[in-house]
């Protein structure tokens, strides 16, 4: 059958995207999950993957076109059955006269600043109105950008939505990690420098293992109900060199060995900063971790990334006074772990048990090598 593939939604607040590159052409055979195009959204340039296997028959979207989510971008011949095609959402009525060609980022800025697009002459290809055209009109300085798009505005919108809609509760636990650190030292002595395990990776692996036992913290809250996820797609917050934060997901983290997880974290970090993230990595996170210890903060009570239902914060690993079972005071390594969670889905007791589980794993680190 001939199937029209629509522009997928690559984020909770994505309505449209601009086609910037096709990576296939008519006649090509494609496999499921093969990258077929790059599109520009208000957040970034993202790779689009094919959801089906087949042969490309026609590229409907042209380079530079802005396509709404749900509207077709290509035609494909496939032998797969049971593909459900829904009609694209009705496009809003266009005003009479010439169609305005404008990039998504420029359109967003223009709407927010009440710029009359009919008064603008675009300087992009084929008269497209660019972000710079809108900026020049309203004499706005952009803040730090990533791939030419205002990431700060995208973050602001997402965080405001989360804070407004999600009833957060917060928990904190200080975890002694001497046993964990000693185990890491011994483990890393056996590995080459290039294969060394990172402390943040091992801490995040402990979180993934704990999440498998606490499913109410792993999934999405959509349409008034919680949808738990069988997979753990762990969102990891990375700082971007030009400013801002991105939190792509490490997909299927629950299936990975500690060594593979460590390599996947490094790969994700590099691709976040240099480009090359896949669309699912930006849209499918089931829970996110943020590490503020890097910058010296002891703890963070973060805002959950909508539509997820939990966020774990890792603080600075530091030396602190610890009291042992014989009431002797010594010094040891500790780290503050925090949990922000959606009270519609879980409660404080559940969250406290989750933090207990992380504590248990870090104090019996060989559990990190389990999957």
């Amino acid at each position: 059958m001939i199937f029209e593939m629509p522009m997928p939604s690559l984020g909770a607040d994505m309505d449209e995207a601009k086609m910037v590159e096709w990576k296939i052409k008519p006649g090509d055979a494609v496999k499921k999950n093969q990258v077929i195009a790059s599109v520009e959204t208000t957040k970034s340039v993202i790779d689009v993957v094919s959801f089906h296997e087949g042969k490309i028959t026609e590229l409907i979207a042209q380079i530079g076109d802005v396509i709404q989510v749900g509207h077709p971008i290509l035609k494909m011949e496939t032998a797969e059955e049971g593909i459900i095609t829904t009609p694209p959402p009705k496009a809003p009525a266009k005003p009479e006269g010439e169609r305005v060609r404008i990039s998504p980022a420029a359109k967003k800025l223009a709407e927010e600043n009440h710029v009359d697009l009919s008064q603008l002459k675009g300087t992009g290809s084929d008269g497209e109105i660019t972000l710079k055209d809108v900026q020049t009109k309203i004499e706005v300085k952009t803040e730090k950008t990533y791939s030419g798009i205002n990431l700060r505005e995208a973050i602001a919108a997402l965080m405001a939505k989360s804070k407004k809609e999600i009833p957060h509760y917060y928990l904190h636990r200080e975890i002694q990690v001497d046993t964990f650190m000693n185990w890491m030292d011994e483990k890393n002595k056996t590995l080459s420098i290039d294969d060394r395990l990172l402390i943040p990776s091992a801490l995040m692996k402990a979180i993934v293992l704990a999440l498998k036992k606490f499913p109410q913290l792993n999934g999405y809250y959509k349409n008034g109900k919680f949808e738990p996820s069988n997979q753990v797609h762990l969102g990891i917050a990375f700082s971007i060199k030009d400013g801002g934060v991105m939190a792509p997901a490490l997909l299927n983290a629950e299936t990975m060995s500690l060594s593979d997880f460590n390599k996947a974290v490094l790969s994700l970090a590099e691709r976040t900063r240099k480009g090359g993230l896949k669309s699912r990595e930006l849209s499918d996170g089931t829970m996110t971790v943020t590490n503020v210890g890097d910058l010296g903060s002891d703890k963070v009570f973060g805002i959950i990334f909508h539509p997820q239902v939990a966020l774990v914060g890792l603080g600075r690993m530091r030396k602190a006074a610890v009291v042992d079972l014989e009431n002797k005071v010594t010094s040891g390594f500790v780290i503050d772990v925090t949990l922000s969670a959606d009270h519609r889905v879980s409660d404080g007791l559940y969250g406290a048990r989750f933090l207990n589980e992380i504590n248990k794993i870090l104090n019996d680190p060989k559990m990190l090598e389990g999957e």
Partner: protein, 88 residues
């Protein structure tokens, strides 16, 4: 895996290796502006992944092994230089 001794490597040689490591991993940081005697994290914004890559590269250049426990106790670059110069 036993590291070769860095005894015999001067402070200047270790600093040169540090400078090269910073330059490769975090070129946006001006190494010459870093005060060796002050805590590194108070002077530059650097996340754990970049720092880890810098330390790994430094270890390769100086043929040393610094454990995580040791690293967590080293706050300044002088601490790290002293540590590397005294490895047996």
């Amino acid at each position: 895996m036993r590291a070769e001794s860095t005894k015999g490597k001067t402070k200047e040689e270790i600093i040169t290796a540090m400078k090269e490591s910073f330059s490769q991993i975090a070129p946006e940081i001006n190494f010459s502006e870093i005060r060796l005697e002050k805590p590194l994290r108070d002077q530059v914004e650097i996340d754990s992944l970049d720092l880890y890559n810098i330390i790994n590269l430094l270890q390769k250049k100086t043929n040393t092994h610094v454990s995580d426990t040791q690293l967590a106790s080293l706050l300044t670059l002088n601490d790290l230089i002293k540590f590397l110069s005294e490895i047996d």
